[in-house]
Symmetry: C2
Subunit: 341 residues, 2 copies
């Protein structure tokens, strides 16, 4: 079985974006604020948006199951306040849940949180609880910078975030550390802000002793870990300067990387440098890079091709494709076992 | 000849730091503001600070010449105003110039600029002119984020920066794009802010047509280009989405990467992915990562070992060690030729 742990609902019906635009207009003009009940998306519309897109490509590429969360760039936690984020997160999470109900063999949901800049993350707990207990979510996406590129929240090692971590530990669910759209003109969203956030989050963990407080807490750093594997020597050296344990002991029981790296040399470096127990298959398809690579004739984000061509054995490939995901997402594993997988 | 294009004066005599602390105290208490003439560092002190440190390691590692600039993390452009930055830059640049006069065969200077948040970069021109015309500087370091991690300057493609570029083109000198200390608690300086800035700067160039306006402008992106080579497929794909030319045509006449990547797999990826005309030898020694790698028994920042072990031929190695630097830093080439090299 091949599990893609990083898929977003980037192809949701247009009505979703229309509703969001009305909601944003309603922030300045409350008379225009739409009610949640005004959004109507039928099951047929959901089916159509998935079958011709993600599911078609999953079949073409031989992928079985995607951990499916709301579109990352649309989370836009910097827009409006907690009330705005809460309504928006509830809508987006419900859509991913409905997709998982329509295609139970191919999609299982992960939740976005109703984060808002300067607001206590504990306010996200009710949505998190609903998503896990009612919607069967197996993970969350946690945004380390709800400001969208101004980076004015405390680092992930700060007690500010502990209410989320406590709930994650209770439910035994991992978090993918994933920012959203950059509203800072210095940072291109998918070309700079995403990768910077990955590197930043890793370093926030490296300089802290967060995992002493939460030994079972698990973070997935997406996009192949940002700059981290490429600079693994630098990070090993910095840990040594800071008198931290070896990275494998200090961080690698708790931090994992996905394979959203869109060329063979990058995947070859990832699999050479990072222990194979810490790598999870992912494509983030259909996402930031949708084109065909003229150098290969294949989609940039068809990451299975790179894993197939990597110099690793079948057991290692099985870890990346399935075993690591089942180990790190116990609720995913339980759901699969309940279906006889 | 082996030229290290990225060395900072990280080992300056203690008196420099003491003066800077007094200057910083003088920002809030003008009575304490020291005069420039109160800083006394003798030639013997300079010699001692270099001979036992950078020069010793250069000899051990077989490096001939270092392009030497003020300590990057101490630039701290976010501290004080233009007046404070101007005094500080002048002092630091003069020290690097004096080192180059004391060790003319081994050091040649590159200048920091007296940048200050929110101040027109044109104010940096007098210092730049002095450093090139009087001190023989062959390059500058340009900080794309003088705020120190708040990223509130316009992107490098903005006309805001054009006065600097016009002078660079006139003098035919390249700029290393290098931030300084992060005063944002989200970003560890050398583990996150430096690498993020490298990725950010590259993407600012990718999304723009800056090099149409300045076809001969040259940027060195340090630290192996941040996350860029590891995600080269992502960047090629994003350029395609944005209807830009192929990266080799769009950016690689103007953007170059150094080899400050502190392990073999990183250098192997860099030399596999990036054309060898675009890679310049560097170690950033003595810098962020000063320890010995327990996996190899050698210094993390002894990057020559990785270049020697890379699967490239002697002609390619010569490009990385010398030829690319002489091509991209014409004033360096002229200085070497004047000495018969």
């Amino acid at each position: 079985m091949i599990i893609d742990i990083h898929g977003h609902y980037t192809t949701a019906p247009k009505a979703l974006e229309t509703w969001r635009k009305r909601q944003i207009a309603g922030i300045t003009n409350p008379a225009e604020m739409p009610r949640v009940s005004e959004l109507h998306i039928s099951d047929d519309e959901l089916r159509e948006s998935i079958e011709g897109n993600q599911l078609r490509l999953m079949r073409e590429r031989g992928l079985d199951l995607t951990i499916f969360s709301p579109r990352a760039s649309f989370m836009a936690h910097h827009i409006g306040d907690l009330h705005v984020s809460s309504a928006w997160a509830a809508i987006c999470n419900e859509l991913c849940y409905r997709v998982s109900e329509l295609f139970p063999d191919h999609f299982i949901p992960a939740a976005m949180l109703p984060q808002s800049p300067g607001v206590d993350p504990a306010t996200c707990i009710p949505e998190l609880v609903k998503c896990v207990e009612e919607f069967g979510n197996v993970a969350i996406n946690l945004n380390p910078d709800p400001s969208g590129g101004h980076w004015n929240s405390p680092p992930l090692s700060d007690r500010h975030w502990y209410p989320i971590y406590e709930k994650m530990v209770e439910y035994d669910i991992p978090a993918m550390i994933h920012v959203s759209t950059s509203c800072n003109p210095c940072f291109h969203t998918t070309g700079a802000h995403y990768l910077n956030a990955d590197t930043t989050a890793f370093m926030q963990c490296l300089t802290s002793d967060l995992f002493n407080d939460f030994p079972t807490l698990r973070f997935i750093i997406p996009h192949g870990g940002g700059a981290v594997p490429y600079h693994w020597g630098r990070f090993r050296g910095l840990a040594q300067e800071l008198k931290k344990p070896l990275l494998k002991d200090h961080l690698l029981h708790n931090i994992f990387f996905d394979t959203c790296v869109y060329h063979q040399p990058g995947i070859d470096l990832l699999t050479r440098v990072i222990p194979l127990d810490n790598i999870l298959f992912a494509s983030e398809m259909i996402g930031a890079v949708r084109g065909i690579d003229p150098e290969t004739g294949h989609y940039f984000d068809d990451t299975r091709r790179y894993i197939e061509a990597a110099h690793i054995g079948p057991q290692e490939r099985h870890k990346i494709y399935e075993a690591n995901a089942r180990r790190l997402y116990p609720r995913l594993d339980a759901a699969l076992k309940a279906k006889g997988h």
